[in-house]
């Protein structure tokens, strides 16, 4: 038996080997394309995180929008402050009732067109009135209600200062002494 057959099938074949080849031939490698099974069960893990993130973003956006909208709506009311601020502290409380629209009295006597005018006029001061009321609260500090202790302390303080001032002046007067007539004469001469 030559070994050539075993190497490159060139020599004389051995019948035993040929038999073995026939038996194992069915198991020989046959190159073919990969065939994937058509019915594959894929298990998707459902993740809710992205959905939650989107929902949270939307909620935040809506909330921010509402907040901005509410603030933006308030802004025109307070916007008057810029114009009226310097004059506000001088506005006396008596002026406020005049600014108020007298809806009860005017509604009976005036025509519809006048009513419109009056309401239109009334709307402007109303915003001012609101502002004035608000600003007065801001500008005027609450008055300090004097307590009994404070009043007593003030009284004592005044008494002490009276005495101190009186005695200090007494010392000054005594230190200066009575002015002699000669001194006065000299002063006249110089003057």
């Amino acid at each position: 038996m030559s070994e050539e057959y075993l190497w490159d099938k060139s020599g004389e074949p051995d019948p035993e080997i040929q038999q073995l080849e026939q038996i194992l031939g069915s198991l020989r490698y046959q190159p073919s394309a990969l065939e994937l099974p058509t019915e594959t069960v894929t298990e998707h893990r459902k993740s809710y995180l992205p959905l939650l993130a989107i929902a949270a973003t939307l909620v935040l956006t809506v909330f921010a929008g509402l907040l901005w909208f509410s603030l933006h709506n308030r802004a025109p009311k307070t916007g008057v402050t810029k114009v009226v601020t310097p004059a506000v502290p001088e506005v006396s409380p008596k002026v406020i009732p005049n600014v108020m629209p007298k809806s009860d009295t005017t509604s009976d006597t005036t025509s519809p067109s006048e009513k419109k005018q009056s309401t239109a006029q009334a709307t402007v001061p109303r915003s001012n009135k609101q502002f004035v009321a608000r600003d007065i609260r801001r500008v005027h500090k609450p008055e300090v209600v004097p307590t009994e202790e404070a009043l007593h302390a003030k009284e004592q303080l005044m008494t002490a200062l009276r005495l101190a001032s009186e005695k200090l002046n007494l010392a000054q007067r005594k230190a200066q002494g009575p002015a002699s007539p000669n001194q006065i004469r000299n002063q006249h001469k110089i003057g």
């Binding site: 302390a153 004592q156 303080l157 200062l161 005695k167 005594k174 200066q176």
Partner: protein, 191 residues
């Protein structure tokens, strides 16, 4: 590490500031004299004035001074930095109700260099008046006035920065008749 070094470098400054504040506080407190030993005179006196106002009470009283009132505004300015006002005044029916020891006990606390005597008027007929001041730099830290008349003994102790001129001017503004003492400059101007 750098921040630690920075903090450590600032420590001496902070400590020195604390020391200065403490020293100033102690100095201000030094201007307070003991007058409790005069209390025994109250039983002999016809009229007694005893005023003890500490810093807290001064601040409390200062709050209720009306700033719109010129006099009260002046008083407020005068007292606002004070640490305390203490007055003891006794009026007797008879002469020699108090002893020289009573006055000496006050005088003994007013020694140099902490205190310097500004005025000392001795008169057998009108009594003695002494004015002491405690100086802290250019500012007056404390004032003591001892007025010892035949039937009256008054000790005034003001602790804190005192404006003597303003204090003297208070007489006449607090319901006390003015004694007609005017500074020399003012007299000249009037002439």
């Amino acid at each position: 590490m750098k921040s630690l070094l920075k903090t450590l470098s600032r420590m001496p400054l902070a400590i020195s500031l604390c020391l200065i504040v403490t020293a100033l506080t102690v100095k201000a407190q030094d201007a307070k004299i003991q007058m409790a030993h005069l209390d025994h005179l109250a039983s002999r006196a016809n009229e007694t004035v005893d005023v003890n106002i500490d810093e807290r009470l001064i601040q409390l009283a200062a709050k209720i001074f009306n700033d719109k009132d010129e006099d009260e505004a002046q008083i407020k300015k005068l007292v606002v930095g004070l640490k305390g006002i203490y007055v003891k005044s006794f009026e007797f029916d008879n002469d020699n109700e108090y002893s020289a020891a009573d006055i000496d006990s006050i005088r003994s606390q007013l020694r140099e260099p902490a205190w310097s005597r500004l005025v000392n008027v001795t008169s057998k007929r009108e009594g003695n008046v002494e004015v002491y001041i405690s100086l802290g730099g250019p500012q007056i830290n404390g004032l003591v006035v001892i007025s010892a008349e035949s039937k009256e003994l008054t000790v005034v102790n003001i602790v804190g920065p005192v404006d003597l001129e303003k204090l003297a001017k208070l007489e006449g503004n607090l319901g006390i008749p003015e004694l007609g003492i005017k500074p020399a400059k003012q007299k000249k101007e009037e002439q």
